[in-house]
Amino acid sequence: MSPVLDIRDLHLSFKGYGGLSEVLHGISLRIEQGQKVALVGESGSGKSVTARIVLGLLQETRTARIRGAVEFDGRDIGAMSARQRAALRGTEMSMIFQDPTSSLNPTFTIGRQFREVLGRRDPGIGRAASDARATQMLAEVSIPDPARVLAAYPFQLSGGMNQRVMIAMALANRPKLLLADEPGTALDVSVQAQTLHLMRELVDDHGTSVLFISHNLGVVREFADRLYVIYRGRIVEEGPAAAIFADPRHAYTRALMDAVPRITGGGLPDVPEVSEDFLAPLIRHEEDAA
């Protein structure tokens, strides 16, 4: 069985006034069926552009130069037409963004936005069928009063409620791959913890594969099976999440872990912001080490 996502030696550069500048220097990443994979790095490391290439969005940007293979479910995304790539979005792959309230349209009710999402897979879906399916999805994300939420506008709901709506919408068409870009960082910690828990249960039930993009190692630890650590457009360490958390070997991964303040105390860490060691070659953990 082919992996859901297979990225091999992916390079990305942008054409600017000063010539080409390369932002991804050949990254490789695989997600098997049902696997939850995290791509961890700081801002500017290349994690969000990777997601935009998988979604087929960056291919439409004229200044972007993309090289390397990106296969989704055995099909080469690079060889597809813009139309074919667009047809995948919202049906076979979907996305959850950082701030749920600003990624929902404030001028339409939740029910109407659900109908648009469900219409991607089933263009003739009627209002009754759409509402029934939406009600069922909202119940799955533990929303107590689905009818009220369907009739509401996003600004009438709390951030945590909107985040659940986003999760329900993203999974409504049973996608094979879910891309989650820092989900819930705009929310309070306790709400964030609840929604992450919920999202994990749902993707496990549905067998959805996930590419989880984050800079927060604590969140990643609670969510992901596998980890890719990215630094300045290069993967520096990869392997099962448990193995990397137990034994981080790359200097950059170690610095990332050390820099997180601990709730057990111990004072503020003294880690460098940049170091030559961060550019050391890729470290791969054995698959059975977990």
Binding site: V260, P261, R262, I263
Partner: protein, 265 residues
């Protein structure tokens, strides 16, 4: 001796949907040189409290005392100078059309600090104190990284030579490696200059490592206050426990602390 005292302070906003009690009968004090963390979820009233301390909002009832005297709701320049703010998002809080030096100098001109010819030197000293090259004063905020901009935000507050600095989520917009450096800088400055901090945040892991005391807010009320050590080893209020046990953690010691707190709720 406490430098800042908040005595039975309430703030009510009157809206179309009736009154909103943002802060309800809160009393607390901050000692000279101390770092008090104010924690709580969004809507808990922590920013309203900060705005009252800064004099941006006037309390509906209760009073604020600074250095042994009442703080009037119309602040005198001396008070405004003595209580400075560092904001969360340094990109939106610095004027994009001013050089960073001009932004830092603005406070000096407003409060008449130093003589006109010496003010650029004060600006350069402030930049140096936060670990930025003094020559950077001629640059625009857009040409700086997130960490550098937040250092400018700190330099801007420091240049006015304040007694109290209100830090409103100063590192939550920063990457974790940058956050670690900025937190260390804030700690060093507090010690070397005898500053007093009111540190507003929802990040309990940061609080654990920077604060002397913690005040926990929920729906405008102070639910628990105590030393950082006591709050984390023996939180009394269930809300405090739930906040601590929601923190995403990285190592096993943290996990067991969190689990032991979760059992108690």
């Amino acid at each position: 001796m406490s430098l800042l005292e908040v005595q039975n302070v309430s703030k009510t906003f009157h809206t179309d949907h009736g009154p909103v009690h943002a802060v309800r009968d809160v009393s607390l004090s901050v000692a000279q040189g101390e770092c008090l963390a104010v924690v709580g979820e969004s809507g808990s009233g922590k920013t309203t409290l900060a705005n009252m301390i800064l004099g941006i909002l006037a309390p509906s009832s209760g009073r604020l005392r600074f250095d042994g005297a009442d703080l009037p709701s119309r602040r005198l320049p001396d008070h405004r100078r003595a209580i400075q703010l560092v904001q969360q998002n340094p990109l939106s809080s610095l004027n994009p059309k001013r050089t960073i030096g001009a932004s830092i100098r603005l406070g000096l001109d407003t409060y008449g600090i130093g003589d006109r010819s010496g003010r650029w030197r004060v600006v350069e000293e402030a930049l140096d104190a936060v670990g930025l090259p003094p020559a950077m004063r001629k640059r625009a905020p857009s040409s700086l990284s997130g960490g550098q901009r937040q250092r400018v935000g700190i330099a801007r507050a420091l240049a006015c030579d304040p007694r109290i600095v209100v830090l409103d989520e100063p590192t939550s917009a920063l990457d974790v490696l940058v956050q670690a450096r900025v937190l260390r800088l804030l700690n060093d400055l507090r010690v070397s200059r005898g500053l007093t901090y009111v540190f507003i945040t929802h990040d309990l892991a940061v609080v654990r490592n920077v604060a002397d005391r913690v005040a926990v807010f929920k729906s405008g009320q102070l639910v628990e206050t105590g030393t950082t050590e006591a709050i984390f080893t023996n939180p009394r209020d269930p809300y405090t426990r739930s906040l601590i046990s929601a923190v995403p953690v990285v190592d096993d010691d943290e996990l067991s602390l969190r689990n032991s707190l979760a059992e108690g709720t």
